[in-house]
Structure formats: C-alpha cells, structure tokens
C-alpha cells in the first residue's frame, strides 16, 4: 500500500496526450506524501535490565542496533545518569571488545561516534552500552536516545513548476521527480517498533514498581503520548501512574482483584516540538491483602501482569491534511485555467511537504536505533523471549530484521494451557511465519504483503532473538 505509484516519464512533442490517470497519480502521490510527512514514532526504550535494579558492579545498560545507510556519518547517544560516582559508560560496536567511545557522565550526557566508513548499505550495527566502574546498586543510568544521521538519498529536490498554459515534459516530469525525492526521503527513515511488554510481571506487594522507562519525542505539535495494552490484576487494589520527566502526569483508575482491563492512555505532550521527554510507567499497589494471605498460607504470590504493546507519540485524533485539487477526469473538457490551477495546487502541496521534512530534522534526518530485549545474559535473554518482543502496528510494506530463530506473529496471541498457577503466560501467535531459522544470526527482508492476513494497520510481533527490527515504507 505505501508504494508511490508515479506516472511514466512525459515526453515532449511526440503527440503524447496528457493522461488524466497520470495526473491523478501525481495528485494521489501528493496526498499520500502529505500524509506521510507526519509520522507517529514509537517511544525509545531506554533503561537497563530490571529498570532500576541492578547489582553493584558493571552491567549492560542498553543494547540494540541500527541499520547503516549510505551517507550516514554519525552515531549519537544521549541520556541521563545519577548516583554514578566515578563510573563511566562505554559504547561497544559490533561485538568489539574495544570501546568505540567512553562517556564521561553528567546528569545528562551525550556522545557521538564516527560511523562514516567501514560499513556497507544495509549493514546492521550492533551497539552496546555498559557501565565501567559502577560501584553501587543505587546508581541509575538511562539511555534516552540512540540514532544515526544524516539520512541521505540519491535523488535530489528539483523544485516545483508553475503552470500557465504550457504542459511540457520539463514541468510535468518535475512533478514526478519532486514526488520521488520526497518519497525517497520519507522511505529512507526506518520505522522502529515499540519494545512490547507481554504479560510482564508487576508486583504482589504494596509498593510502586516501574514497568517501563524510556523517552518519547514530540515530533509534531499534534503529538500526544499514547499507551495501549491490557492488565491482569492480582492485587486487591492498584493503579497505573505515568511520570513525564519525573513528574506525575497521569493517574489511572483503581483496578480490583482478578480484573482484566484495557489500557488506553493519551497524554498531551507539552514539551517543545523536537524535544524528548522521559517517560516512566509505574504500577502502584495500594492493597495486596489477598496476595499476602496466599503467601502467608505458603501458597504462591501472584504478581499482576501487564501488556504494553504500544507506547508512542501520535496525533490525538489525526494529523492535518492538505486539501487536494479536484481529481482529473478523462474525456471531459477542461479549460487551461482550471488545468493550471489544479497542477499548481499539486506543486504547492509538494512544496509544503518538502518544507515540513526540512524543518523536522529530528524526524527525517535520523535513523533510530532499535532496542534489543532486556537481558543481562543469554539465559535471561532466552527466558524473556516471549515477554519483551518488538511490536509493530503495520504501516510499511517491508520489514528488515536481524537476529536468530526469528518469526513474525500476528492475528492474536493464544495463551497456552498451564500446568500450575504461576501464570507464566506462555503464548503463541495465531498466525506466524519463520523468517530466520536456526541459531545463526542473519538478516532478512520480509515483504509484509506476503504474510496472509497481515493487513496495514494490524498489530504484529517479531519473535525470537531479535537484534534489530524496523519497517520500511516500501
């Protein structure tokens, strides 16, 4: 669906009639580009294993990957830290034992790494951030953002033509080339997933447990923070809280024991466009009497479970849309003035899209890195295989994925029967397809149209040991 259908090149002075179909392709392209020039963006999952709990000693704070594209020069990382003492963070690329960068920490920190050479287009760069010299369990480290820039395309902006009665190939092809350049720019920016949480374990005690910590970027003025999921409650009373930059921004209604609830939180972002805010989602248990009784009676305690499949910035309702000119009709007389007006309206739409892309460099000049599953070692990585998986709502036509034993799951999650009451919530997808088999890391390019029943707009997960997963428009 997201492919851009453009007409064949126009040719001058060969008795080539101007086709309404061709002009409508340009009109449709302008409409599509106008819509695509706004983009919802998944939150960047930034915290370390177990969020805030870690041992005294060095550990992995963050790991993930991004896909190198021709023209990329710089890898950027930034975040926050507290209680770190004399510790630093070290950044390792592609499994190297030698750090590519050492970050001297402050309350906020950032660093850049030159990646202008040594890679071929499509290479997946593995990134790992580790502490160096961490001495306390009380320290906190947050990676807020990892991305590469610039995003370069091979086509160039041809400008847009003005029509005043001459419909030559120069002007008409200029429209085609303008559409293509805008599309190239939009399609070159990968669409990252939400690091989905599926029946992630909360707590069975009266306490506040952090379920999620990361950041979300307000890319457009219309953006709100949207959190979608479900909860299965095993405490007598609890609710969710969302903190934005450490300040309580949302308090959910109280959930009762054994209730199953939908989570649909929409929070209006008030930060400046282009800025990110720190997002923390907490489970707040106010009454755990039943759980305490079970525990006291030597039965098991049950943590509430949470599924957060989507955490992203998006328009509260929809992004604005330009008004397109009237569609072109074949075999119907039209004055030159009307034809000029409609073609010039397409020019204006394209020009406005270009301005939007140029302005929002924070969105259209960056390729975001993708978080790999939280884990401090392979054992934990395997154990959490079903709990933390990249989650997409299909927008593009193509998925680039690197990892081991990777499959795509869609069409609903089917809970498997359990032998005990621990509620591990083992599940499988109703529909699935293996895309990388075996225990050898590989990169696959998946054409989503080939997955029967996975329609645009539908949710799906990427299961397995996923190093990197991102959609491309086409």
């Amino acid at each position: 669906m997201p492919a851009l259908d453009l007409p064949t090149t126009f040719v001058n002075n060969v008795q080539m009639p101007i086709s309404a179909t061709a002009l409508n392709m340009l009109r449709d392209a302008a409409i599509a580009l106008d819509g695509w020039s706004y983009r919802r963006l998944a939150a960047f999952d930034g915290n370390s294993n177990g969020y805030v709990s870690h041992a005294a000693g060095d550990f992995r704070v963050w790991w993930g990957a991004l896909r190198w594209q021709t023209g990329m020069t710089t890898l950027w990382l930034d975040g926050f830290a507290s209680g770190y003492g004399s510790a630093t963070l070290k950044v390792y690329l592609d499994g190297s034992g030698t750090a590519a960068a050492t970050i001297t920490l402050g309350t906020s920190w950032s660093t850049s790494i030159d990646i202008s050479s040594g890679y071929n287009a499509g290479d997946i760069i593995l990134i790992e951030v580790r502490t160096n010299g961490n001495a306390t369990k009380a320290s906190r480290y947050l990676v807020q953002e990892v991305f590469a820039e610039p995003v370069v395309v091979s086509s160039s902006w041809p400008g847009v033509p003005t029509f005043a009665g001459t419909y030559d190939s120069g002007r008409l092809n200029q429209l085609i080339n303008a559409c293509q350049n805008l599309y190239d720019r939009i399609a070159a920016v990968p669409i990252p997933p939400t690091m989905g949480h599926f029946w992630v374990s909360g707590t069975h005690k009266v306490e506040t447990a952090t379920l999620y910590a990361g950041s979300v970027q307000r890319s457009q003025s219309q953006d709100v923070l949207r959190i979608l999921g479900t909860s299965n409650i095993f405490n007598d009373a609890e609710h969710l809280e969302v903190l934005i930059d450490g300040v309580l921004a949302y308090t959910g209604s109280t959930w009762a024991l054994n209730s199953n609830n939908s989570i649909d939180i929409s929070y209006t972002l008030a930060n400046s466009v282009s800025d990110r805010v720190y997002v923390q989602i907490d489970e707040v248990v106010t009454n755990a009497a039943t759980n305490a009784a079970l525990f006291a009676n030597h039965e098991m305690e049950l943590n509430s479970r949470f599924t957060l499949h989507t955490i992203r910035a998006e328009a509260a309702t929809h992004y604005p849309a330009a008004s397109p000119p009237t569609a072109f009709a074949a075999d119907t007389s039209i004055t030159a003035a009307t034809l000029n007006s409609r073609l010039n309206a397409i020019s204006t739409m394209l020009s406005n899209v270009k301005s939007r892309l140029d302005t929002a460099t924070w969105l259209w000049n960056r390729a975001p890195a993708v978080r790999r599953r939280f884990a401090i070692d392979d054992h934990q990585n395997s154990k959490l295989a079903l709990v933390f998986t990249p989650s997409f709502q299909r927008f593009g036509d193509r998925l680039i994925v690197r990892g081991k034993d990777v499959s795509i799951g869609w069409g609903g999650r089917v809970i498997e029967p359990q032998d005990d009451a621990w509620r591990d919530y083992k599940y499988h997808a109703a529909q699935s397809k293996s895309v990388i088999s075996g225990d050898k890391a590989d990169t696959a390019e998946v054409f989503l149209d080939e997955l029967d029943g996975l329609y645009p707009g539908q949710y799906y997960q990427v299961l397995g040991d996923v190093y990197y997963a991102a959609e491309l428009l086409s």
Partner: protein, 493 residues
C-alpha cells in the same frame, strides 16, 4: 471511369542490394492489404497484412535465389510514384515461360524472424517509443530507452524509417508512435516476439500496421485516425483529384456490431519485484572437454530484474559455480561470461584446463518479479459486453481502467463500414484517413479510415473503410508539448 497512365518498377534483393527487374519482363502483378483480427479496422492490436503476386519471364529471374527473397513494388500512376509493397517471396511456381512469386509483407514474416527472443526487463516503459531521426534504437547502445515493440522490430532486422539513410540495406523499416500506456513490467521470453508485440499493442491500445509501403508502424490509439487530406466522391468536383472519383455504382455499406460494446471488462494481474533470492539451482552435471566452449541457458521460474554478480558484472559469486576435475579437485582454469535476460541466464563457459572438467552446480540469485491475485474491473454499462483478453502486460488497476475506458471510447458507437472502387493510386495506404462524399448516404467528406485495399495489376482498387466520425483523435486532447495550449481540451485516459 477515366484512363490513368501507370508504370511500375519492381525490385528484388539479391546479394544484399535492391536490383530492378526489367519492366518489360514482368507480365503481371496484383496485391492488397488488410487489417486483421477485427471487422472494422479499429481493433487494438490489429495488424495489417499485405500480399503481392508478381509474374515475370523465367529468363529474367532464372539463376538467382528465389526462396524468401525480398521484393519491392513501386508503381507510378498519373505521375504519382510510391512504394506499394515490400515483402518476401514465400512460394514460387511457374512453367517454362514464366515464374509467379507469391509474396507476403514483413508482418507475415515477423513470426519467423522473432522466434526465441529473450529481452531484458523493461520497467514502466511505453510499449513503443517515438522513432525519430535521432532516437536511439540500437539495443546495444548504453543509452537505449526505446519501447519493447521497437526492440522486437529491431531484433527482426528492421531499422527506424526516419533513419533509413543510415540503414540503406535494412530488411525493412519501422516507425513507431509514442504509446500512451507503459506496463509495469514487460519482457519477452522465448515466445514469438511478434505475437508479443501485438499483445503489447493490445495492452496499450493502438495497432501494428504494415501498409503497402512496407513500413511497419505502431500507431497509438489517438493517432489511428488523422485529418483527412484526400476526399473520394462520385464527381470530379467533389473529389480531391481524378484518382478520387469512385464508380457511382460501387459504394456498399454495412453496419456490423462485432466491434460495438457498451461495457468493457478488463482483468489485470499485479506484478511486484521481490528481494534478492535464489532463482536457479541447477545440479545437472555437464562435462566440458579441454578448450571446449559450451553455452548453458537456464530459465528461472519468474522473470528477474537483476542477478547477484561476482567479482565482475558478468560473473557469479565463486561459491555459486561448482566446477571440478575428475578427481574431485576444484578446476582452476576456466573462463565464463554470464548474460542476463529477463527470463534467461545464459552462461558461456570455456574449459581452459588440459583435462576435462565437470560443472556440477550453478546457483543464481536474482530479484524475481512475481504475480499477485488476478482482479477485474469494468467500465460502462449494459450490453453488449466486451471482455478483454487476459493480457500479461496489464498489471495494475490504473492500467486496466485506462485501457478499458479507452476501448469504450472507440467501441462505444456502432460504426458503418463502406467500400468503393476507384482508380488505382499507390499513394493510398491502409491506415489512411480519407473523406468520403456520397449524397445517397448523406455523407459530405465524412472521415473514414481505410482498413483494406485490393488492386488488380495496378488498374483499379477497392477500398474498404470505416466511418470514424466522432472517434477520439489527438487534436481533442492536451498534449505534452513545449507550445502553449489554450484549451478547453480534454485529458486522455
């Protein structure tokens, strides 16, 4: 009917050159041309066939090759001279005195000339591109961007008519209009290239003509009908000249509904390029003797747009070609070249070892173009309904709608066909737009498209033509042009 002086020059091609036959030694000739497939000459993808019989004294033609020899006929009537036939002899018969050559136009010979053609993949390229004095028509030119119909005609030995001076010994000439539709993907893979050229014309509208002058033309739909510059009438005053005066008793009229539809149904099968993947895995053992060169042709299931090359663009990755000696050790001395077509990989392999080697496996990775689910659209309403053929080159909804809407504009009116008998005029060709005046039929210079011509020994000819009043022509539409256009006009489909 008045008397018109006629002379004619008949040439045949011997040893690559056109040689005139002595006029006094030609005893008879007759011929004609006809558009086929449809009953009114307006069918998309119609082709025009021409035929000619030439009888000459045996003494004139004895001792020269006859089989598939090209012939050319150039009559002159009332001082007007024009090439009236170009084709090849397909059958010669005769007696002790004379030999009669039965010749057909190049369109009849094209299926023979275009067998087993394999083209590269053409993406979003008009099925035919305008031939001009400077258009690049040679497929080996690095800047080649012509259409697939041009490609087929070139491979068949044709050369662009507008560049005839550069190709004086060409087997035939072709001239193409710019097609109005470009399929997503177009290619030829071993089928008859000419049949595919006709299929392309049906996918884009238009016709592949060969008129009596021997030039094979692709005409785009809006140029099928031009402006009439010659008028036939039953009086000299009403006709353009004396050759335009028809026999008063000759006009015949017919209205057939075989090409009349009010609803058009068209199907399409989407095609998409897929990511690089294994498209050939051939494990047929092939022994190659020392210094021997063999050609291996492999065909992937789907056409491909490109293949994964090795160290150079015409090789495979080393691990994709397994060549060993008899003792199982890898062969070290061999050379090969890979040539890629849309649906064929051709490998020319030479064993440079001093001992035989065996090619055990060839793997090719490529980007295939695969099909989606066939879908159908329709335009218009009521009956009669025309279901267009399943055409491999119609690959998206927009294309199907364009084609069906265009067809409806051509076939949505029942059209009359008319025949007249007039003095022979070699300047009149199938595909000409002429005016017809006939008081009895209430016609005054009404535009007609000539779709069939028969003549006998260059004396009289019968013209069959279709009334094209109201049919869309390029003048009705805005065109892509460097000149300003005032309008109002229409946009095409």
């Amino acid at each position: 009917m008045s008397i018109h002086p006629i002379s004619y020059l008949i040439k045949w091609k011997q040893s690559g050159s056109w040689v005139a036959l002595t006029s006094g030694k030609i005893t008879d000739f007759a011929g004609g041309a006809e558009s086929a497939l449809s009953d009114a000459g307006l069918g998309f993808g119609d082709k025009v066939t021409t035929r000619q019989t030439i009888t000459a004294l045996r003494s004139e033609v004895q001792g020269q090759p006859w089989a598939r020899t090209p012939f050319q006929v150039v009559p002159t009537v009332d001082g007007s001279s024009a090439v009236a036939f170009v084709g090849v002899n397909t059958r010669a018969s005769g007696d002790a005195e004379t030999v009669t050559f039965n010749c057909v136009g190049m369109t009849d010979d094209l299926p023979n000339r275009t067998k087993d053609l394999y083209s590269p993949m053409f993406y979003r390229r008009p099925v035919a591109t305008k031939t001009t004095a400077s258009s690049i028509e040679d497929p080996t030119d690095g800047n080649y961007a012509a259409g697939l119909i041009n490609w087929v005609l070139w491979q068949a030995g044709g050369r662009p008519y507008e560049q005839a001076g550069s190709y004086p010994t060409a087997d035939f000439y072709y001239a193409c209009d710019q097609a109005v539709i470009a399929p997503d993907w177009a290619w030829i893979a071993g089928e008859s290239g000419w049949d595919e050229a006709l299929r392309l014309a049906r996918a884009a509208g238009g016709q592949n003509h060969q008129a009596l002058d021997g030039v094979i033309r692709y005409k785009q739909p809006l140029l099928l009908v031009g402006t009439a510059t010659y008028t036939y009438a039953d009086t000299l005053a009403g006709a353009t000249d004396a050759l335009g005066v028809y026999d008063k008793d000759s006009p015949k009229e017919e209205e057939s509904t075989g090409q009349y539809f009010t609803k058009i149904v068209c199907s399409f099968t989407p095609r998409s390029a897929r990511p690089m993947q294994e498209v050939i895995n051939d494990d047929t053992p092939r022994k190659v003797e020392p210094s021997e060169t063999i050609t291996i042709d492999l065909e992937p299931q789907w056409p491909i747009t490109s293949f994964l090359s090795g160290a150079t663009a015409d090789t495979l990755p080393a691990e994709h070609l397994t060549v060993t000696r008899f003792d199982g050790e890898p062969a070290a001395a061999f050379t090969y070249t890979v040539t890629q077509y849309a649906q064929r990989i051709s490998i020319e392999f030479t064993n440079d070892e001093l001992i035989p080697v065996v090619i055990y496996r060839i793997i090719v990775h490529g980007t295939p173009v695969t099909t989606g689910e066939t879908q159908t659209i329709s335009v218009g309403s009521g009956t009669p309904v025309m279901t267009m053929e399943d055409n491999i080159f119609v690959q998206n909804k927009a294309h199907a709608l364009q084609l069906a809407t265009m067809a409806l504009a051509f076939y949505g009116t029942a059209r009359k066909t008319r025949t007249i008998t007039v003095p022979y005029n070699p300047a009149r060709l199938v595909g000409d737009t002429v005016g017809l005046t006939c008081a009895d039929m209430s016609l005054t210079a009404a535009p007609h498209l000539v779709y069939k011509i028969d003549h006998e020994a260059g004396e009289v000819m019968t013209l069959a033509m279709v009334d094209v009043t109201g049919i869309p022509t390029v003048d009705d539409y805005y065109i892509v042009s460097t000149s300003a256009q005032a309008g109002p006009k229409k946009l095409a489909w």
